[in-house]
């Protein structure tokens, strides 16, 4: 992890997304052009910068860090319904700061955005919420843990003594769908990089980054056709930083993989002037091994027309040193999040040397 030259793939996505928060209705490219990373870059002074060796402290660090420019709480879940069909769910809360302070009332310089996604084999539902900080419409408390925007919630339900994120109740709704999930951790938190200090480049850019990849999930999805009981596995990412994005990076392809034997893997490729890949191998007991640059190789196998563009929805991913070669298939090739910054995000099934399920996120197409 430590040799990644840029912020993680989600940092980039989320930076874009959050940068566009105040621009309702603008397109991805419009956001990049009109907003620019320069806009965010100019206000970099004053924001906190992650420091190596500062240990993450829980439950405090489950809450928000207003001194940093960007932050998110990002849950994905691969699910199976009582109807024997595959489903995927996404629940995300982004925070973006205009200035490095918390603030009260309308003058609080904190902006919030929520994304909810629900994928079925035949449909994809997405919704977006936006809110100002300081007025109570959205926020995150560390203890007792709760993250919310409008009526969407991610609320801690862990018993006393356990980590606040060990059990959560998660709910969100869009115009024609809603879901309610209970997630319970079956493994430890995984600190990415150097004990949660995740270096991004030789220049020393970094983020704080940890995950909870071991959730067992049960809940109900309400779809236009009626409710579906679901069970499955979930993955929560927590990351915060103040880093701007490299200008030449047009997008990325990221996967979280949950193997049938209980191991996990995270991997991505950043598509810039040259391809950059990275990842983490996570044992079933939570021990993590970073994968160096070029350890992973991504090969697109099939494209699909999605929202008027060609998106590579099937991939072969090879990790030669680990003896891994898998081919991924989306549950629904049309898993398009038609939000203010649009992107592809949905559940996948993979086979090959290893088999299992996971989540795929692709941006910049």
């Amino acid at each position: 992890m430590s040799d990644r030259p840029t912020l993680s793939r989600r940092a980039a996505l989320r930076l874009l997304a959050v940068g566009a928060v105040a621009l309702p209705g603008t397109t991805f490219s419009g956001a990049v052009r009109a907003q620019g990373f320069a806009g965010l870059g100019t206000t970099a002074e004053g924001f906190a910068v992650p420091q190596r060796g500062r240990p993450l402290v829980f439950p405090q660090d489950h809450g928000s860090h207003p001194a940093y420019r960007i932050e998110w709480w990002y849950l994905t879940a691969v699910l199976r319904g009582a109807d024997e069909r595959d489903y995927g769910v996404q629940w995300t809360l982004f925070r973006s700061a205009l200035a490095p302070r918390e603030g009260q009332g309308w003058s609080a310089p904190q902006l919030w955005m929520g994304h909810a996604g629900l994928t079925t084999p035949t449909s994809h539902f997405g919704a977006e919420r936006r809110a100002r900080g300081g007025i109570g419409q959205a926020g995150v408390d560390a203890t007792p843990f709760r993250a919310w925007i409008d009526e969407w919630q991610m609320t801690g339900t862990a018993p006393p003594g356990a980590d606040e994120l060990d059990a959560l109740r998660v709910s969100a709704a869009g115009g024609d769908f809603d879901y309610r999930l209970d997630v319970t951790a079956e493994g430890p938190l995984v600190l990415q990089g150097d004990a949660g200090y995740s270096v991004k480049s030789e220049a020393g850019q970094a983020s704080y980054y940890y995950s909870q990849p071991f959730y067992r999930v049960a809940g109900v999805l309400n779809l236009p056709d009626g409710p579906v009981e679901v069970t499955g596995q979930g993955w929560l990412d927590r990351e915060w930083s103040s880093q701007p994005l490299e200008p030449d990076q047009a997008g990325w392809d990221w996967v979280s993989l949950i193997f049938e034997d209980g191991a996990r893997m995270m991997g991505f490729q950043l598509r810039g002037e040259r391809i950059f890949t990275s990842g983490t191998w996570i044992e079933a007991d939570g021990r993590a091994t970073p994968l160096p640059h070029n350890a992973l190789r991504y090969t697109p196998l099939a494209h699909a027309q999605v929202a008027g563009r060609a998106v590579p929805v099937r991939w072969r991913i090879d990790w030669a040193d680990g003896g891994l070669s898998i081919e991924t298939t989306p549950v629904n090739p049309q898993s398009w999040m038609d939000t203010s910054v649009p992107y592809w995000e949905g559940p996948i099934i993979f086979t090959g040397t290893h088999a299992g399920r996971g989540y795929l996120e692709m941006t910049g197409y």
């Binding site: 105040a22 309702p24 209705g25 009109a34 200035a99 919310w148 709704a173």
Partner: protein, 799 residues
């Protein structure tokens, strides 16, 4: 052949440049007035659309609090319950050197596709974070000068408004934690908890039932349109006269051309092409003129609309294709209508018909009978429509029938009057004066009809606007009768306010109301105190005996005209009020510009029936001189922001002053229409004077001096103009009555009482006589100065 024929046809205009000038000027003026008015209307309408579209909320329902302001916590509660709403705070505030409407929005939740969002695109942080950033029209920025934050030019923001973040608006308006309204976004989630449970007391207002700015101002625009249309019709008379005369005078040419072998079809095509060419030239000139007219009137129109309705209309005119195209189309249609009759005559003309110049509009006995028949038929149609007409279209047909009937009748009535004059005349010269007038009447009749229409339109529209003005002032008086208005933020504050105000003022009257349903319509019920304020100022259009006593004792209620007309409730009837019971209708009051039902109920009954109604707003009667002092005291003691207090004496003065500017527009249009009519008269007299030599020469030979003859001619023109003006008066009043009692009722559901202003008629009559004098003077002067040789030559060429 075609080219030669064309040259021959066009040579006519070279020999009659004045006629050509009349034709083009008449058409250009008519087009100018029409398109100028259309330009004004288009500009204003575009401004209203902008005002609504800016927030994208014009089409969306919204939530409002009866007390006026919504607690911000209600907004959070609604969002947290899943309701997709976006807050807006609107208020007047002094900014720099100007008073502006501050429009605070929340860009994160504002409806999608919002123009406002694009405005702040480059730097959302600067917009959201104090001191903030405002977006305003360039005119507003100029008017404000220095503001406590950066102002960015944004022409899409209505004039007089400054768009800021809601947080900035709250602090500038002194309304922390308050919201004016919540826009209800489309695509709400299914199965949300009911609104009442989450934020009790908020009312949902659907865009369709809401007072719409465009609807309010429609009456104003209707006046302008009617004016433009009438001016155009008057202009068409000129064109008709000029085209007809030209056809008549070219009969010889037509005959020669036909005899030389030019096919009738091609001749007609050439003539039609000629007219289209004139239409295009005059239409283009008219557009330029119209643009200038509109451009010079727009500041006044804008000021009127802004002052009257708070309608944000910019003072600068933009070129719009819609009215430009409509203007040219009108010019072309006009010239074709005017020339069509002549063309059809030409089609029936025998090739070798005698080329004797015949007065084109010579009224044969049969022609007179036909005209009389048409006038009577149109008059009857108008009469029938008065009783049976339904809808706005019928109203306009009625208007057209009435005017046309009156115009057609004018020459007939004038002829009858001239005969009467002739019978009473003593002496040969006097008898000749009347007889000559009658003989030349047919040639002048079109011009006189135009004059009559112009005068009638002036009287009619003038009466309507003046009635509207008088009504508006009355309405202002009843609505803004108290010297001072103050609204508290909470019930406790209201209580303290009342206690503080009572000893230092004459009366503190409640402005408390509840929303409910009356006779199946959404209605607002006001609790009304028994006070002279109402007894003396509330004009009732229908009342039972001792109406105010009935209201005070709670036996009866007052309802507004809208409810009375819609539910057919008048004094003597009773109305069911939910929670109150069945009460007699004691009176009906006029309530202009309000589309909703309203009821005034005695305050005791009101408090009993609606104990939960907010009691925050108050009207205070006091010495106007003490108002500023009182405002300062309230500001110090209660920290009341200026936005919750208003000194109405000043507001009223400003409103009235602004309203006066409306009349600048009306006056300008009056003068222009009248000028068109004078031009028509002038055109007719000029052409007539050329043909009259043969009639005048014998009189000159009998010993009447040229000077005497010229004076007689002048006098005859003036007499005809004066008679026409007198005839125009009843027509104008009828027109006003139709506009007020038919068109207005059909268009808006309320009737404006007609008020007459004889002083205006006198002024208008003088103007008409002056216009006629100018029109007659030149031909008369020409006659007075004509060379004796010309008169003698008449006998040489005797025909």
């Amino acid at each position: 052949m075609t080219a030669t024929a064309l040259m021959a046809l066009l040579s006519h205009w070279r020999r009659h440049p004045v006629q050509l000038l009349m034709l083009l000027a008449g058409l250009a003026l008519a087009t100018a007035l029409w398109s100028g008015v259309q330009a004004l209307n288009a500009e204003a309408r575009a401004a209203y659309d902008r005002a609504g579209a800016l927030l994208g909320e014009a089409e969306l329902p919204r939530l409002e609090a009866p007390a006026g302001l919504i607690d911000q916590q209600d907004y959070i509660a609604l969002r947290r319950a899943g309701w997709q709403v976006s807050p807006v705070l609107e208020g007047r505030v002094d900014l720099g050197m100007s008073r502006v409407t501050l429009l605070g929005i929340e860009p994160m939740t504002a409806p999608g596709g919002v123009a406002a969002a694009d405005l702040m695109g480059a730097d959302p942080g600067a917009f959201l974070s104090p001191p903030g950033r405002g977006f305003a029209a360039p005119e507003t920025i100029r008017a404000v000068g220095e503001a406590p934050f950066e102002l960015v030019a944004a022409p899409e923001v209505p004039v007089g408004q400054v768009l800021v973040d809601i947080g900035i608006a709250q602090s500038l308006l002194g309304l922390d934690g308050r919201i004016s309204r919540l826009t209800l976004l489309p695509d709400q989630q299914q199965g949300l908890p009911p609104l009442d449970g989450v934020a009790p007391g908020l009312h949902r207002i659907d865009p369709a039932t809401e007072t719409d700015l465009a609807a309010l101002t429609d009456s104003f625009h209707l006046n302008l349109t009617a004016f433009g249309l009438l001016a155009f019709a008057v202009g068409l008379f000129i064109v008709h006269a000029a085209v007809g005369l030209a056809f008549e005078q070219r009969r010889g040419v037509f005959r020669t051309l036909r005899a030389l072998g030019l096919p009738l079809r091609r001749l007609m095509l050439l003539l039609a092409g000629e007219m289209l060419l004139f239409g295009l030239i005059a239409g283009a000139a008219g557009l330029v003129l119209g643009y200038l007219v509109a451009g010079s009137l727009l500041p006044d129109v804008a000021a009127s609309l802004r002052g009257l309705y708070g309608a944000p209309v910019p003072g600068a005119l933009a070129f719009r294709w819609e009215w430009a195209a409509a203007g040219v189309a009108m010019a072309l249609a006009g010239v074709l209508v005017a020339g069509g009759q002549s063309l059809s005559q030409l089609a029936r003309l025998p090739i070798l018909a005698p080329a004797r110049p015949r007065a084109w509009a010579r009224a044969s006995a049969r022609g007179m009978r036909l005209q009389a028949g048409a006038a009577v038929a149109l008059g009857l149609l108008a009469l029938v429509l008065v009783f049976t007409g339904q809808g706005l279209l019928a109203g306009f047909v009625l208007l057209a029938a009435l005017l046309l009937s009156a115009a057609l009748a004018v020459p007939l009535i004038l002829a009858a009057l001239l005969i009467l004059g002739e019978r009473r005349a003593r002496g040969p010269v006097a008898q000749w004066f009347w007889a000559d007038g009658r003989q030349n009447l047919p040639r002048l009749s079109l011009a006189l009809m135009a004059l009559m229409l112009a005068l009638a339109a002036n009287i009619g529209v003038g009466t309507m606007v003046s009635s509207f003005r008088a009504t508006f002032i009355g309405w202002l008086d009843q609505r803004l009768v108290a010297e001072f208005y103050v609204t508290a933020r909470t019930e406790a504050e209201a209580e303290a306010l009342r206690a503080a105000l009572s000893p230092r003022t004459d009366a503190v009257l409640p402005v408390w109301f509840a929303e409910t349903t009356v006779a199946g319509r959404p209605a607002r019920i006001y609790g009304t105190a028994d006070h002279a304020t109402y007894r003396d100022h509330w004009p009732l259009i229908a009342a039972a005996p001792a109406a105010w006593d009935q209201l005070a004792t709670g036996e009866g209620v007052m309802i507004n005209e809208q409810l009375a007309r819609a539910a057919d409730l008048w004094p003597g009837a009773a109305v069911d009020l939910p929670g109150v019971g069945r009460l007699a209708v004691a009176g009906v009051y006029s309530d202009y510009g309000n589309p909703r039902a309203q009821v005034m109920l005695g305050i005791d009954h009101f408090l009993y029936a609606f104990p939960q109604a907010p009691r925050l707003a108050h009207a205070v009667r006091m010495d106007p001189a003490d108002v500023p002092g009182l405002m300062a005291v309230l500001q110090d003691r209660f920290g009341l922001p200026g936005t919750l207090m208003s000194d109405q004496a000043q507001a009223k003065a400003v409103s009235l002053q602004v309203f006066e500017r409306t009349f600048v527009v009306t006056r300008a249009l009056n003068v222009l229409t009248l000028s068109v009519a004078a031009l028509a008269l002038f055109a007719s007299l000029v052409t007539l004077s050329g043909m009259r030599m043969a009639q005048l020469a014998p009189l000159w030979a009998l010993g009447l001096t040229r000077r005497r003859l010229a004076l007689l001619d002048l006098g005859r023109g003036m007499v005809l103009a004066a008679l026409t003006a007198v005839l125009a008066l009843p027509v104008g009043l009828l027109l006003a009555q139709v506009l007020l009692a038919v068109i207005n009722v059909q268009a808006f559901g309320w009737r404006l009482p007609m008020q007459v202003f004889p002083a205006d008629w006198m002024r208008l009559g003088l103007w008409a006589m002056l216009a006629a004098l100018v029109a007659c003077a030149l031909p008369a002067l020409r006659l007075a100065r004509s060379a004796p040789a010309d008169l003698i030559r008449v006998f040489v060429h005797e025909r």
